[in-house]
């Protein structure tokens, strides 16, 4: 079996273990649950006096950010450091691409520096997948967000948040509210919720901010916030991606808040014990009222804490899967030589 066997998903090795982490598409419920279980155990490490375990000692993790980010970058750095890896962060938007180097060349250079793992954030959908498939197949590649496509670690930290606060997914109503069109978080959340067996996934937003083809995610679409929020257990607010919006999609920010902003009064339509989530950074008064963001039902800061544990889980699982694959491949090569 060759590494590029079409029958095997790119993200998995020959034993079905995680080897890259590019998208939640095609990953089984068992694997997602394994990620959540592993993250649960890493949460405990974050409460220790020495918040560090030696799992990735001697490994080098390269965070390559072609697009700005604070939370994702720092939590990936912290996750790698808590696993005792050496961490390098490159903000490529400010370095070599401005000198004309291609994505391909930048990555090949990093590979030559013997990096064991890349965490990639890129404004183009599919960038991480491209790198895993064509550029550096022997380096574990983690998608830290690519264009509008996927943000799988955010999706999994959202799932960990829901599981820790609601116990599971089987009887839940979850609403995702806002700018779905530009949101890779929404896509990853919808995929994960469906795989994990959430029976009622609702998507709420104006027609201009909803992508076509939402049916394939098995979600119910609402254009009226009050109607969509009724009796939900979880509200996931999305950031209004102002920088990605080039005119025409919205009359004004004020109008968006009036129709789709999460206020205390609107939150009262959800179940009394509903939790409010947001991937951050939050725009106060644009998609969420301050009193809600800081309120008792908000778990927005818990999400950040869980994000470190989820990233530790994904980094360690992918590193182990990639190493196992290298051993499998070298064994099969030496057998062929005999």
């Amino acid at each position: 079996m060759t590494p590029n066997d079409a029958k095997r998903p790119l993200q998995l090795n020959d034993q079905g273990q995680l080897r890259h982490f590019l998208s939640l598409d095609g990953l089984s419920r068992e694997l997602l649950t394994e990620i959540l279980d592993t993250a649960d155990s890493f949460l405990e490490v974050g409460t220790r006096a020495v918040k560090k375990v030696p799992l990735l000692r001697g490994k080098t993790v390269c965070n390559v950010f072609f697009e700005n980010s604070t939370r994702t970058r720092t939590t990936f750095e912290m996750a790698a450091q808590r696993l005792s890896a050496d961490v390098i962060t490159l903000n490529v938007s400010t370095s070599s691409t401005s000198k004309g180097e291609t994505l391909f060349d930048t990555l090949r250079n990093l590979e030559a520096m013997a990096a064991d793992m890349f965490v990639i954030r890129h404004a183009d959908s599919g960038a991480a997948h491209f790198i895993a498939e064509h550029v550096c197949p022997d380096v574990a590649v983690i998608n830290g967000g690519d264009g509008r496509h996927a943000h799988p670690t955010q999706g999994m930290l959202d799932m960990l948040t829901i599981r820790r606060h609601k116990g599971g997914f089987e009887n839940l109503s979850v609403a995702i509210v806002g700018d779905i069109l530009h949101s890779r978080v929404a896509r990853s959340d919808m995929l994960a919720l469906r795989t994990l067996g959430c029976p009622d996934i609702r998507v709420i937003g104006p027609k201009t901010l909803l992508p076509t083809g939402l049916e394939q995610y098995g979600v119910r679409v609402f254009h009226d916030l009050a109607e969509g929020l009724r009796d939900v257990d979880v509200v996931i607010m999305l950031r209004l991606q102002r920088e990605r919006m080039q005119g025409g999609l919205l009359p004004s920010q004020g109008e968006f808040y009036r129709l789709y902003g999460l206020s205390t009064a609107r939150l009262a339509l959800a179940r009394p014990d509903a939790i409010v989530m947001h991937p951050g950074p939050i725009n106060r008064g644009v998609e969420i009222e301050s009193a809600v963001a800081d309120g008792a039902q908000s778990v927005i800061l818990n999400q950040v804490t869980y994000g470190i544990a989820v990233r530790m889980a994904v980094l360690s699982m992918a590193m182990s899967g990639q190493t196992a694959q290298r051993q499998l491949t070298s064994e099969s090569v030496s057998e062929e030589q005999i």
Binding site: S41, P54, S320
Partner: protein, 169 residues
């Protein structure tokens, strides 16, 4: 050779541990069990000693040296040490001592919590196959197995040892 019954070994181990601690002038040690079998043995020892106190639980998966070979066990239990490690006399308990690598990992993990005053190592069974310079202070029984054999502790109540043939890898 039949495997020993833990119920027979435990009272002897408890007595020997008491002697060992007295000889080393340790009054109030804290017990730490290595997940899962070591926790059962530690609980049984505490019961045999008539002590009721919180037990520390250690899952050493994050500290193992074979992580890149065998991967991470998905269900790593959180380690829980409900007392200070710094300056503490500890009794570290495992079920089956073989290569010594688990104990090495456990010691590394303990030292990330603090600097214990001492660590006394107790194990139910010593398979006499050490790959590291680690030796138990109190042992239920020492025995040698055939190369393709392993022993597993079943529990928590009653405790029983079971012989397993190693799958030919």
């Amino acid at each position: 050779m039949t495997l020993p019954d833990p119920a027979v070994l435990l009272p002897r181990m408890a007595a020997e541990l008491t002697r060992h601690l007295q000889a080393h002038r340790i009054d109030t040690p804290r017990f730490v069990g290595i997940h899962t079998g070591g926790v059962w043995v530690a609980q049984a020892l505490l019961a045999a000693l008539g002590r009721e106190e919180p037990l520390g639980v250690l899952d050493v998966s994050f500290y193992r040296d074979d992580f890149t070979q065998s991967g991470l066990h998905p269900q790593v239990r959180p380690s829980a040490l409900p007392f200070e490690i710094e300056g503490q006399h500890l009794v570290l308990v495992d079920d089956v001592l073989m290569t010594g690598r688990t104990v090495r990992a456990a010691l590394n993990e303990l030292f990330d919590y603090g600097r214990p005053a001492s660590v006394t190592l107790v194990c139910l069974l010593d398979l006499d196959a050490r790959e590291l310079p680690i030796r138990p202070d109190v042992v239920g029984q020492t025995l040698s197995l055939a190369p393709d054999e392993r022993v597993k502790l079943l529990g928590p109540a009653p405790l029983a040892l079971e012989r397993q043939a190693l799958a030919s890898a």
